[in-house]
């Protein structure tokens, strides 16, 4: 029998979502006992990508006092240009502004190097949160008033609440017996980085094409990060073309708005698959980020969604603690689930296709139905809140997303 230690919250998974949650909890309830565990070492990943952080998400980091540390190489996305032909009223870019508390004069997103995000989080977390590296979870017991994690070395960690922030293939999710809904979009997501002839002027471009949306996100210098979707066949076809030929196709897709382009790296292509947990919470356990919902490719969308989870979950936990409630109680955790489910389901739909959002044929719509929103009888309501969401008027969103303390 190993030694057992008691925590209020044990977060399994030291990625950006897990670390941010740990920081938020300890900032607002300083005497909360929080532990972040990871099966590996806590270190900055070897990943040169920049990710688009939505405005609401950067506000979380501002409130936590770490935005300055991670924004040294951040490129603001000050403008958004939508270049679709018919549906001119769509002002929401697919991969960015699902957030909606954008204020005039404030960039609605920033492109931030992933390394800087994790680097800043780790630096601050080391001094503010208890971290435990190389802690692989062997088993989970959520049966009592306290949950127990047994680690590979035989030691046990007890906590009122366990957070599974261990990624899209969450082992904890399986241990908790939570099933997933999987859907293959039969499309691929493609990403690459380009340099281009015409300066982007801190503008993101969104091009609506029959094959799906095509977005360019401004990086420092005359460079941009591209994210788009293609049919499987077209994605395969593209892969076998020369870089020059690829560049010509990209220029055409973008309507030459950035002039001549050059690929800085090979195009990466991922099947677009949705993996959605049927439940986000069970007694004493909550799923966070990719463990709850994963949409490939990882374009930063996953990170934004995960950090929005953090904003909602931290507020739910902190309020429960302040009210003297048992914060691992299912009743409490369901508030988090209710809060996030619609947003996540929306993302799943949006990813499927903006144009088919309200079509009855949309597979994602059916998924949402299966997902238990009771969409059939609440359809007008969903539509209304969709529109509010699109217009950036979400009432009652998490406080952190609008830059408020919890």
């Amino acid at each position: 029998m190993g030694k057992s230690s008691d925590y209020d919250v044990a977060i399994v998974g030291g990625g950006p979502a897990g670390l941010t949650l740990g920081l938020a909890l300890s900032q607002f309830v300083p005497d909360l006992r929080v532990l972040v565990l990871d099966r590996k070492e806590f270190k900055i990943p070897d990943d040169a990508r920049s990710l688009a952080l939505a405005a609401g998400v950067t506000r979380i980091f501002e409130v936590l006092g770490i935005w300055d540390k991670m924004s040294a190489h951040a490129a603001p996305i000050a403008h958004m240009r939508v270049t679709d032909s018919g549906t001119g009223d769509i002002s929401r870019p697919l991969f960015l502004s699902f957030d909606g508390d954008v204020h005039p004069g404030r960039p609605f997103a920033h492109m931030v190097p992933f390394r800087d995000i994790v680097g800043a989080l780790l630096e601050v977390a080391r001094s503010r949160v208890e971290l435990k590296a190389q802690a692989q979870v062997r088993s989970l017991n959520t049966g009592g008033a306290t949950a127990e994690l047994v680690l590979q070395d035989g030691s046990a960690v007890c906590a009122k609440l366990i957070i599974a922030a261990d990624g899209s293939r969450s082992a904890l999710r399986d241990m908790a017996g939570i099933k997933t809904i999987n859907h293959d979009y039969h499309q691929n997501g493609l990403v690459t980085t380009i340099s281009h002839e015409i300066d982007h002027g801190d503008t993101a471009f969104e091009h609506f094409r029959p094959a799906g949306p095509f977005a360019s996100l401004p990086l420092p210098g005359s460079r941009s990060s591209l994210v788009w979707t293609e049919s499987r066949a077209q994605a395969m076809h593209l892969k076998f073309l020369s870089r020059d030929e690829q560049a010509r196709i990209i220029e055409a897709s973008m309507g030459n708005c950035l002039g001549k382009v050059e690929l800085e790296e090979p195009i990466q292509s991922f099947p677009l698959r949705l993996c959605l947990a049927r439940d986000f919470v069970v007694p004493r356990l909550a799923l966070l980020g990719d463990a709850a919902h994963a949409i490939h490719p990882i374009t930063g969308q996953g990170l934004n969604l995960g950090l929005k989870d953090v904003a909602a979950l931290s507020e739910v936990i902190i309020e429960a603690v302040r009210h003297g409630e048992d914060h691992g109680d299912l009743n409490v955790l369901r508030r988090y689930e209710r809060w996030r489910r619609l947003d996540v389901a929306l993302m799943a739909m949006v990813t499927d296709s903006l144009n088919r959002l309200f079509s009855n044929e949309a597979v994602a719509l059916r998924i949402v139905r299966d997902f238990g929103l009771g969409l059939v009888d609440r359809m007008p309501l969903i539509k209304k809140s969709l529109m509010r969401h699109a217009a950036g008027q979400d009432p009652g969103g998490p406080k952190l997303l609008s830059g408020q303390d919890i």
Binding site: V29, P30, D31, L32, G144, A145, E319, V321, R322, H323, G324, E325, D326, D329, L330, N331, R338, L381, G396
Partner: protein, 245 residues
């Protein structure tokens, strides 16, 4: 035996439901749903009245709380987590049994007594905060009951009273709606004639040294499936009263 204001039939009715107290999706689901709004109100008012430090994990440390009609301990446990020294009183032995078992499972130290407010008052005990939530509408002799509750408050201390108003709207929502249409509560849980208006309660307790400090309505928002504080006191409402020093 001390004079009791608790109606035997009322006690029996709730004891039958007692085992389900702590099942959030069971028959006490409405109370579980209702809990956050009451807890937030209690916290906010107690912090303000006693000038306590809200950032502390246990801001109520060193304070004596009494929950009258504590049931399975839905309010006692949160108050204990916030540091209060809590006494829970309920006329039903069975409720007290369940509350004790649950507190033990939760690792909380709470004093549970199968007794009445009259019996406690007769012993001369007093508390910083008396919680009187969702009880008064089930009591046989309201003036006698509220007199004993008021006596249990220390001078300068607080009493919270939550109940249902006697209005047409309350009849429609709390009885027809909650018991018949939505089936939230077993039929017969409430009887309309026993509902009290805020003025009636105020008039009784003011005779026992209590001054109203705050009044708030509580309304159900079906879209969010949530209870919120509101200005509308026509159905559910909460009163906060301070004992004269």
């Amino acid at each position: 035996m001390a004079t009791s204001t608790i109606n035997d039939e009322e006690i029996k009715k709730f004891s039958d439901l007692a085992e389900q107290w702590w099942d959030p999706s069971g028959q006490f689901k409405p109370l579980h749903k209702f809990n956050p709004v009451r807890l937030a109100y209690i916290r906010e008012q107690v912090l303000a009245h006693f000038s306590l430090e809200g950032t502390k994990r246990q801001p109520f440390e060193g304070m004596k709380f009494l929950d009258i009609g504590c049931g399975g301990g839905l309010l006692c446990e949160p108050m204990a987590r916030l540091g209060a020294e809590v006494t829970g009183a309920d006329a039903s032995e069975r409720n007290i049994g369940i509350a004790k078992v649950h507190a033990e499972q939760s690792g909380l130290d709470i004093k549970y007594l199968a007794t009445t407010s009259e019996a406690l008052a007769a012993k001369g005990e007093q508390f910083d905060v008396v919680l009187n939530m969702e009880v008064v509408e089930h009591v046989a002799d309201v003036p006698l009951y509220l007199k004993s509750c008021s006596a249990l408050v220390k001078p300068g201390g607080l009493m919270f009273i939550a109940t249902i108003n006697r209005t047409a709207k309350a009849y429609a929502l709390a009885i027809i709606g909650a018991e018949y249409v939505l089936g939230w509560l077993p039929r017969g849980t409430h009887s309309f004639s026993k509902f009290l208006t805020p003025e009636e309660i105020t008039s009784i307790i003011s005779r026992h040294g209590m001054t109203i400090r705050d009044r708030s309505g509580v309304s159900y928002n079906p879209l969010h499936d949530q209870w919120r504080k509101s200005r509308d006191m026509a159905v559910n409402y909460m009163l906060l009263a301070e004992k004269k020093t």
